[in-house]
Symmetry: C2
Subunit: 372 residues, 2 copies
């Protein structure tokens, strides 16, 4: 990999994941052995946040060290998607866009990037879990879809399992003809924490469900508005991606049954705080569901499931007996169970859900290997 | 991927894994959608078993359908490693050797293949778990090691976890600077079956250890001579590979502590059958170890462990409490726990150990993607 080729990189979004990604990239390139990494071929030429951007006029490298200050001082506005395609198309080599935003307009531009030979790496679920037409447009354009050789590559490993090797494993299984027949798992760290605490295997002191939600919020395990987790939409989006990877034409994340944990009686709450206060009024309902599971010797877990054979997705609470790996989960771990045509037992992949920025790097390395 | 490039493939070894691999490759290429698979670029030009070979004189395709009969009828002997390098070097395109043997001479030729731009894909542990010099020679020669661009690629995913994504995950973690600090797991399906049966979580009817070994042998879970499993060498080889992947310079699989389950008093057994008969004399010893674990509320598992930080490997029996994922294993599943610098909980990868032939295909696809 000693080729002198340069790959030009544009990074959009420098919030949580974006910033951690750039920090880790810099840390790798600072190592003495970094020259052997394919990442040493990267040249950062564009960094944007919502209102500002750093654009390297002559495709010279933006400093990996001083970019935060340089970006803060910049007066340039971010390029439009069309202008960014134009800018990167004129770079004297192949280019990659790393999209760390959840911006719908940028997601919709992925097919443009790909058709212009620009690869896309992203932790954002938006493009892959929204309208099916966008999914089709992306994979029709991409070289690692049905696009022409020379088109851009698209990788989105973090969109289901953060730092866990989920999407790559499913692709490998399907590509070798060992088709995934069913996926089931806990795809949300928040839901994992809530139910592993509310109903740990082996039992625990009884604490009402609403109290666990408050604890999860205080520990930073929920979104600022916990309803975004409790609605199940995040899990539904991950299910949509998993199902589409397995060949199902799922129209959208709201096109199949999703059990919301927001009580119907709280649909009118004006604020996140009002919701959290009034959630306690519904603790008895959740306690009843828990008692029912307990009477069967089972635990409750909030899971997503894709039945590839039947072409169905489902998201919601399910009971698991103590023998099942999903029952034994702890903390806020994620877990996927992949059932396949050739294996007698499922492949289980489990771990924490915090490594999205590292999976972005993994994908970036894969694109570099393909481009070099 | 619509390029018309052809990649020439030589397959050595058509026993269990080799035959399943060729059958599955043919099944994939028979699918209507096969033209979109990178595997459609492959052309089979050489198939060898120990005494016979099919060699395509003019690099035309060997039939994927009739090769078993064609090979049976062939009078040609297998090419020597040097002649095979010569033959594939003259092919009008890049070439890949798929080595499905456990042949030491072929393993020692990997650096030759790689230096001649021929890629190597293999499920064999031999090359990667023997002398450290061979490991170094392989990765010094390979393009995905420190070899020059244009050298061959080497992939050996099945050598630790059969069909599970073990080696690719460890490489990805280390490449992104999220270094693996510790690996622990059950790497042998045989040992998994023996101890999950001998001491399942939750307890079971007491059956002596030697009886479980006989059952495992009858079910085909052991090698024809069960001592090959019980010696622990297979697990030690897998530990050696894992440790080297994490950067440790482990000299050989016998250079660290490995607990053999072959009682010292049975070292002189002449045959596998004599060993199995006399193993019952030592059941009390194993029962004692079991009782000790039970008194602590733990179960026994035969595990391999690599402590990357301390630079140490170890293989043998260990006690696990019921909360640990290793305790909850069933059947003959494998399980790896990967502890890393950045994640608060280990990545757990679990599943059956039967998919080596599918992992060979996964690796072959990866090489094709890199060569096309």
């Amino acid at each position: 990999m000693a080729s002198a080729k340069i790959i030009y990189v544009a990074v959009i979004g420098v919030g949580g994941v974006g910033k951690s990604f750039l920090t880790q990239l810099e840390a790798i390139l600072r190592q003495p052995a970094s020259s052997t990494s394919v990442l040493s071929h990267l040249r950062l030429v564009y960094i944007a946040r919502s209102k500002k951007a750093l654009v390297s006029e002559s495709y010279k490298a933006i400093s990996q060290h001083t970019w935060p200050q340089d970006l803060a001082r910049s007066n340039a506005a971010p390029l439009s998607q069309h202008d960014l395609v134009d800018y990167l198309s004129k770079a004297p080599g192949r280019a990659i866009v790393v999209d760390n935003t959840s911006n719908n307009d940028i997601a919709e531009a992925y097919p443009l990037f790909l058709a212009a030979s620009i690869s896309v790496v992203t932790p954002s679920k938006i493009a892959f879990s929204s309208d099916l037409d966008l999914w089709k447009a992306i994979f029709t354009a991409a070289a690692n879809g049905s696009g022409p050789p020379g088109a851009g590559y698209v990788f989105h490993e973090p969109t289901v399992g953060a730092g866990l090797p989920v999407i790559s494993t499913i692709k490998d299984l399907n590509n070798t003809g060992n088709h995934v027949t069913r996926v089931e798992g806990v795809f949300s760290g928040t839901m994992s924490f809530l139910f592993n605490s509310f109903m740990p295997m082996g039992g625990a002191e009884s604490v009402p469900f609403s109290a666990h939600v408050k604890i999860a919020k205080d520990l930073g395990y929920t979104e600022p508005d916990a309803r975004h987790d409790l609605s199940g939409l995040d899990v539904a989006r991950k299910c949509t991606i998993l199902a589409r990877l397995c060949g199902l034409a799922i129209p959208s994340p709201t096109s199949f049954p999703v059990q919301s944990l927001i009580p119907a009686g709280l649909a009118d709450c004006k604020s996140s705080n009002e919701f959290l206060e009034r959630l306690a009024d519904f603790d008895d309902d959740m306690e009843k569901v828990k008692t029912e599971a307990l009477s069967e010797g089972k635990v409750l877990r909030y899971v997503g499931a894709v039945d590839v054979t039947r072409g169905e997705c489902e998201v919601g609470l399910k009971r698991f007996d103590s023998e099942h790996p999903i029952a034994a989960m702890k903390g806020d771990d994620l877990q996927l169970n992949l059932y396949t045509a050739h294996y007698k037992s499922p492949i289980v992949i489990q771990g924490c859900g915090e490594g999205a920025y590292l999976a972005v790097l993994t994908d970036l390395i894969k694109v570099c290997e393909l481009l070099l």
